[in-house]
């Protein structure tokens, strides 16, 4: 059963040195209120797993600006030049992972699988150091699961138990990350009573969610 907390209480749970998955695609579907509050706590040495680092000064970019991230696993950093700059300076180590492989590795972690075979990345730098397995004449890379201490996700609506609905293209990585972290904190626009969400419309079942934060606005 999820617990409704303030954004301050939620952000205080994340300790320095933690691994943190953060939902969203270039700030769309990113729990911006949580990230903003997290920066205020002065937390540092985070490993962040996310599709991208937003843009400079917004979304996950706020954590980059605050030097809170030492290791980043992402598919794209081009939209936030600051991330590239800190990578070159050596203050952030960046592991670039193809987007499909990244989300599948997170799913794998949440789904209790030990890995998967993908054709993506064969013959590229992504393949370096990875086990290659050939089946029926096709070569695949063995990719391993990703898990994290925390997932910070954004949903549209939660009921008081923690059942979640995402909206439009803000869904993206959020429901997958909700399955792969020890502690899941969701920022929502609206909290409704249990029973108000049609069981066919639930996108993340409540038991995945530990804490619910009511956000103020849509942060697109």
């Amino acid at each position: 059963m999820a617990k409704i907390v303030s954004v301050k209480e939620a952000a205080a749970k994340i300790t320095s040195g933690s691994s943190v998955m953060i939902g969203g695609f270039m700030t769309c579907g990113t729990p911006v209120g949580l990230v903003r509050e997290l920066v205020k706590t002065g937390v540092g040495d985070l490993t962040v797993i996310a599709n991208d680092t937003g843009v400079q000064g917004d979304g996950i970019g706020m954590l980059i600006t605050a030097d809170a991230v030492t290791h980043l696993i992402a598919s794209h950093i081009g939209t936030n030049p600051e991330t590239g700059k800190k990578k070159i300076e050596g203050t952030i180590s960046v592991e670039l992972v193809p987007q499909g492989t990244l989300v599948e590795r997170i799913r794998c972690g949440g789904a209790g699988l030990g890995g998967f075979l993908t054709p993506t990345g064969v013959g590229t730098v992504v393949a370096e150091g990875k086990q290659h397995i050939t089946l029926d004449g096709q070569t695949y890379l063995l990719e391993e699961p990703l898990k994290a201490d925390f997932a910070l996700i954004k949903a549209w609506k939660a009921d008081r138990k923690g059942n979640l609905i995402y909206q439009k293209s803000a869904r993206n990585f959020n429901p997958i990350m909700a399955m792969a972290a020890e502690t899941v904190i969701v920022e929502v626009e609206e909290i409704v009573e249990v029973g108000e969400i049609d069981p066919d419309h639930v996108m993340t079942p409540h038991f995945f969610v530990d804490f619910i934060v009511k956000g103020g606005e849509i942060d697109g």
């Binding site: 270039m26 492989t101 997170i106 064969v122 013959g123 992504v126 293209s169």
Partner: protein, 222 residues
């Protein structure tokens, strides 16, 4: 030809490759222009790898929905009959061969169908985003690119020098000089921009070039 006309020529020609019912992913930049030239009567479904099908035109000013963005993070719309899904399903669709055509740009593309599009070591490392999955997963991979770099070097290489996006996956390359079919070690010129001679195209192309016996002129969009 003005830069804009060259881009439109490429986009127009690629649009002719699309078939009724195709699911298509268009990369950021030049490939996005393809939308504008889809022939009437051809129903195309655009896939946006951040999580939906039915990608529509940009909204009117003031009507942007921050929760409907394309893979470049820009506000777009969704057409009737569209559908949203999460990123895992989006890439299951892409890797699973359910996207008929992907169109994307290139830093380099070579005669073996290798594509380099995501990094220049020591200079620019934006990341591959969804490109590696798209190029491996889509049934047909079309590269849309100007024929040469700003400094005049051929982007159609004998072998890519930059880190690859994927090996041996490109089917067709459409540039402002012509349409090229990748042929395991050479590129076959299928159509040419009537402004250029075969010799001019050969001079601007590092990849070994073959000329189709059915070589014809590219159609210039109105």
């Amino acid at each position: 030809m003005a830069d804009r006309d060259r881009r439109n020529l490429i986009a127009y020609r690629i649009a002719q490759e699309l078939k009724d019912g195709d699911v298509v992913n268009l990369g950021i930049g030049l490939p996005t222009l393809v939308c504008a030239f889809i022939p009437p009567g051809i129903d195309i479904t655009l896939q946006s790898e951040n999580g939906f099908i039915g990608l529509g035109p940009p909204p009117a000013k003031g009507e942007e929905d921050p929760e409907i963005v394309n893979a470049g993070g820009q506000p777009v719309t969704i057409l009737p009959g569209g559908a949203f899904f999460d990123s895992a399903e989006s890439f299951a669709i892409i890797r699973g061969g359910h996207v008929d055509v992907t169109v994307l740009g290139a830093l380099e593309v070579d005669a073996y169908g290798n594509l380099a599009s995501w990094m220049v070591p020591g200079k620019m490392v934006p990341g591959m985003g969804g490109a590696m999955d798209l190029v491996v997963g889509a049934k047909k991979v079309i590269v849309a690119t100007l024929h040469t770099t700003r400094t005049g070097e051929s982007k159609l290489r004998r072998e890519c020098q930059l880190p690859l996006t994927a090996a041996n996956q490109v089917d067709l390359v459409v540039t402002d000089m012509g349409v090229f079919q990748v042929n395991n070690g050479s590129m076959i010129l299928l159509e040419k921009n009537p402004e250029f001679s075969v010799e001019q195209i050969r001079a601007a192309t590092e990849a070994p070039l073959e000329i189709s016996t059915q070589l014809k002129d590219m159609e210039i969009p109105a």
